[in-house]
């Protein structure tokens, strides 16, 4: 799920001059905010211990005590990380618009284009319901089909909410693995689709369309506006997902304390069929990263294998049934099947790879 970002407002009145330098008052506010954030963040462990063991009088080491400690530590930690990163990404995204990204990608050679498209997919703001207009806009402007797919695969799969939650709950190594493999899948799947030469499987009306989008003016934003975008992103994204994070961590905390170890090993372990089964189960499931990561964390804790769980998570986030149904409006069935097949195969490869090496 990629959020729409209000960065795309064409402002006809904008002057062509570069944004003015950062005002001192904004700099001060930013530094003060960051300082406060870090000061609070380093106190979380102590605060959680105080809440669980002193205030509620639970015994350290007991089931209920540990589950409560886990909840009171992880919830504020993840929410604080989420706020910081979503704010930063919101400001970063104000430098990118779908219009600008299209200009960069139009006419790029395939291999280079696939890499660029996958990277731009992370930072370009667009709402998931814009996938079809965006597809039309890219393809009609001469962005190669495979490059367009690299963008459309990377944009939902590699997103800041998933990365923050993976980092906060499972550590930086798993987060880095997810980022790296997500990008590789987007690049290779897009490249493969490009190689297959399936342009005639785009719906005819899209191919016959000639659009001229050059009348949408580029905007020049001031720093104040860019930081405003950061704030809006926090309000929109954190405001929407916090409840899933809290519920997910609460469920996770419960599983930590009460579900027997090794339960998941028998169904989400390293059996040969576990990875394809995880992908097949994941496709019709539609959830955002905020809801799925705490569950994933709990599954891992109970003996599920990392490769199987990563494959499951990627299938849930990157391949969704509703999106596929919408894409049918611009793609013929064969290209839809190839898209699902290639991305599904990439996800399975990642699953098997990590089950073998870890």
């Amino acid at each position: 799920m990629q959020p729409a970002n209000p960065a795309n407002m064409p402002n006809p009145a904008a002057s062509p001059q570069p944004a003015p330098p950062l005002a001192a008052s904004i700099k001060f506010k930013l530094l003060a905010g960051l300082g406060l954030w870090f000061a609070l963040y380093w106190q979380l462990q102590g605060l959680a211990g105080y809440l669980a063991f002193s205030l509620f009088g639970l015994t350290p080491g007991s089931r209920l005590g540990e589950a409560t400690l886990f909840f009171f530590y992880d919830t504020p930690k993840v929410l604080m990380l989420l706020t910081l990163i979503v704010y930063g990404v919101g400001v970063l995204r104000s430098f990118f618009t779908p219009e600008r990204t299209r200009k960069i990608l139009a006419g790029k050679r395939e291999s280079v284009g696939n890499v660029l498209a996958a990277l731009l997919g992370i930072v370009t703001p667009f709402c998931s319901c814009s996938a079809v207009p965006l597809f039309i806009g890219f393809v009609t402007a001469g962005v190669p089909l495979g490059v367009t797919f690299s963008f459309l695969i990377s944009a939902p799969m590699v997103n800041e909410v998933a990365l923050v939650l993976l980092y906060g709950l499972l550590g930086w190594k798993v987060a880095a693995l997810y980022l790296g493999t997500g990008l590789v899948i987007a690049i290779l799947a897009g490249w493969t689709i490009g190689r297959l030469g399936m342009e005639e499987h785009i719906e005819d009306w899209v191919r016959e369309m000639h659009v001229n989008a050059s009348d949408i003016p580029d905007q020049n934003l001031t720093w104040t506006e860019r930081f405003g975008h950061g704030k809006t992103a926090v309000r929109e994204i954190v405001g929407k997902v916090w409840i899933y994070v809290v519920l997910g961590i609460a469920v996770g905390a419960g599983i930590h304390g009460y579900v027997p170890e090794g339960l998941m090993a028998s169904i989400m372990g390293k059996q040969w069929w576990a990875v394809p089964a995880a992908v097949l189960v994941g496709i019709p499931m539609y959830s955002n990263a905020a809801g799925i990561v705490p569950v994933v964390e709990a599954l891992l804790g109970k003996g599920a294998a990392l490769g199987t769980v990563l494959a499951f998570m990627m299938a849930v986030i990157a391949l969704s049934l509703p999106e596929t149904v919408i894409l049918r409006k611009v793609l013929k069935p064969r290209l839809i099947a190839v898209f699902l097949g290639v991305v599904g195969a990439g996800i399975m490869l990642v699953g098997y790879l990590f089950n073998i090496i870890i």
């Binding site: 064409p10 899209v206 369309m209 989008a213 949408i216 611009v330």
Partner: protein, 77 residues
Amino acid sequence: MEIKVLGPGCAKCGEAEKIMRAAVEEAGVAATIEKVSDFQQIAKFGVFSTPAVVIDGQIKCVGKVPGKSEALAWLGR
């Protein structure tokens, strides 16, 4: 005045339409508001990030829900 709100029909597009309706009412101008959700129609405007607002054929904003004050400014208020 002819106002078109382009969007396939997600929550944000509905919000954009609501804002435009409220702005028209507040400004008291005579205007028709049309929601365009057909992808082919949207693409013809050259718009590929939604929601977008088009007034009398001129694209006013793309890829975001406009603010009310912004909308009022487009209506000349």
